[in-house]
């Protein structure tokens, strides 16, 4: 039986100068890891589980509930709540990028209209929903608990993961200078170019549970640690649905994935590790961070991707500084590393 390590976080940096993986940080205190970033889809599992927990507290069985375009829970609703959080609906458009550039103040009405159109004309290919399924889920939460639900979920997440996490904008987020914020990048002719628009005050003002949030990589890993504690029995009813239902849903997604289905459940990717045990994970900011958790042991592997550092010299120095002692720590927690 694997030892329970209580949500230990192991930071790795992929693809260092020799092409190996190197453990960089086992704590959560470095400036880089606390830097505010556009997390976007990385907050989707936080929102999914928070909303499902909210529905449970209001007596809704989310495993069977259906919802309509206005967020009303009803038996004849066009979408199952459990499908919304698993990318199993045709609510594929608009993309995140399309919503980010809508005129200010129009995102809510545009998405509401799109949801209504999708409900009256069901069908279409099922696929990844960057925004609309999460918008419907957010409406369901508002129907059940009022518009204040998002701020309450944000407060609960901050209590578990630290103060640097936003699902809704406030003055502090809008006032953050761009020089403390990392960004997404996209390829242009083989060169990574920053997607600077994600840094603008306007984009920050559009922060929402359905579009995505801002926060630190440390907050993301802290959330995984809270998830493990919840699965282990230290219930966090404001953040996660009942642990037994959560386990069932994640196990079903893993089994589904083995037969070629979607491996996503509650916003998390589910897969089997090399040891045959289940892993839960997600990708942050286009590969800047990958997080993978072994729910059996609580080991969390956070891999900083090549896009984490914008300066290769800085990356090399950081890796060199942290290399000492890394192998020993990996050996001590029994984690298999490929180097």
């Amino acid at each position: 039986m694997a030892a329970d390590l209580g949500g230990s976080a192991l930071w790795l940096a992929a693809n260092d100068v020799e092409g190996r993986w190197v453990i960089c940080e086992r704590g959560l205190s470095t400036v880089e890891l606390q830097k505010v970033r556009s997390l976007y889809c990385a907050t989707k599992p936080m929102v999914a589980m928070g909303v499902l927990a909210l529905l449970e507290r209001h007596g809704v069985d989310w495993t069977t509930a259906h919802v309509d375009a206005h967020g009303q829970i009803r038996d004849d609703g066009p979408w199952a709540v459990s499908d919304l959080v698993a990318h199993r609906t045709p609510l594929v458009r608009p993309t995140f990028w399309e919503v980010l550039r809508l005129p200010l103040g129009s995102a809510e009405s545009e998405l509401a209209a799109r949801a209504v159109r999708a409900a009256v004309a069901p069908g279409g290919a099922v696929g990844t929903s960057e925004v609309l399924a999460w918008f419907v889920l957010a409406r369901a939460a508002a129907r059940v608990a009022g518009e204040v639900w998002a701020r309450e979920l944000q407060a609960a997440l901050r209590a578990a993961s630290g103060p640097r996490l936003w699902l809704v904008p406030d003055r502090e987020l809008l006032d953050l200078p761009v020089d403390v914020m990392a960004t997404l990048t996209a390829d242009r002719g083989g060169t990574d170019v920053p997607l600077v628009y994600a840094l603008s005050v306007r984009s920050r003002a559009l922060t929402s549970p359905y579009l995505g949030g801002y926060g630190s990589f440390a907050a993301v890993v802290s959330w995984f640690q809270a998830l493990h504690r919840h699965l282990r029995g230290d219930t966090a009813a404001s953040l996660f649905p009942r642990a037994d239902r959560l386990r069932d849903e994640l196990a079903a997604a893993s089994a589904h994935a083995e037969h070629g289905g979607s491996p996503v459940a509650l916003g998390l990717e589910t897969a089997g590790g090399r040891d045959g045990r289940q892993r839960l994970g997600l990708q942050v900011a286009g590969g800047a961070l990958s997080v993978e958790m072994d729910p059996a042991t609580g080991v969390i592997v956070a891999v900083l991707g090549s896009r984490f550092f914008d300066d290769p010299q800085r990356r090399r120095r950081w890796l060199a500084r942290e290399r000492s002692g890394a192998r020993e720590w990996a050996r001590r927690i029994g984690f298999e590393v490929g180097w």
């Binding site: 399309e98 809508l102 005129p103 129009s106 020089d179 920053p194």
Partner: protein
């Protein structure tokens, strides 16, 4: 400001005075952007974003593949760039197009030129 002989000069002057926020991540390549004004074809111009986020305006170059293009009538272009009209209007009707990288830079350019962030999103 509407289409006419003075429009092109005013457009160049406005874009030439662009001030980006401090602290932007390095721009490792130059990006070629363009503003196209269908009702005033003589007023269109190119914008070269260079490393260091330098901005220089140029004549439109028909043979050049641009990273992104803002194409809209003169009144809308002027309204967006002066903060009178919402920058989102440049995209909602498909008038801002290009690569993801190009659109990102051009969208930020539009917001930097209009300079109305805090007026719109005060506490």
């Amino acid at each position: 400001m509407t289409a006419g002989p003075a429009f092109g000069r005013a457009l160049r002057d406005l874009l030439g005075r662009t001030v980006f926020p401090l602290g932007l991540p390095p721009l490792p390549v130059s990006l070629h952007l363009a503003v196209v004004v269908p009702d005033d074809p003589d007023s269109g111009l190119g914008v070269l974003l260079g490393p260091g986020w330098t901005v220089s305006t140029t004549d439109l170059s028909p043979g050049l593949v641009h990273d992104a293009v803002l194409a809209a009538p003169a009144a809308l272009v002027w309204g967006i760039l002066t903060g009178v009209a919402d920058p989102g209007l440049a995209t909602v009707h498909g008038s801002l197009t290009g690569s993801l990288v190009g659109q990102s830079a051009l969208a930020l350019l539009v917001e930097a030129v209009s300079g109305t962030f805090d007026d719109r999103w005060g506490a």
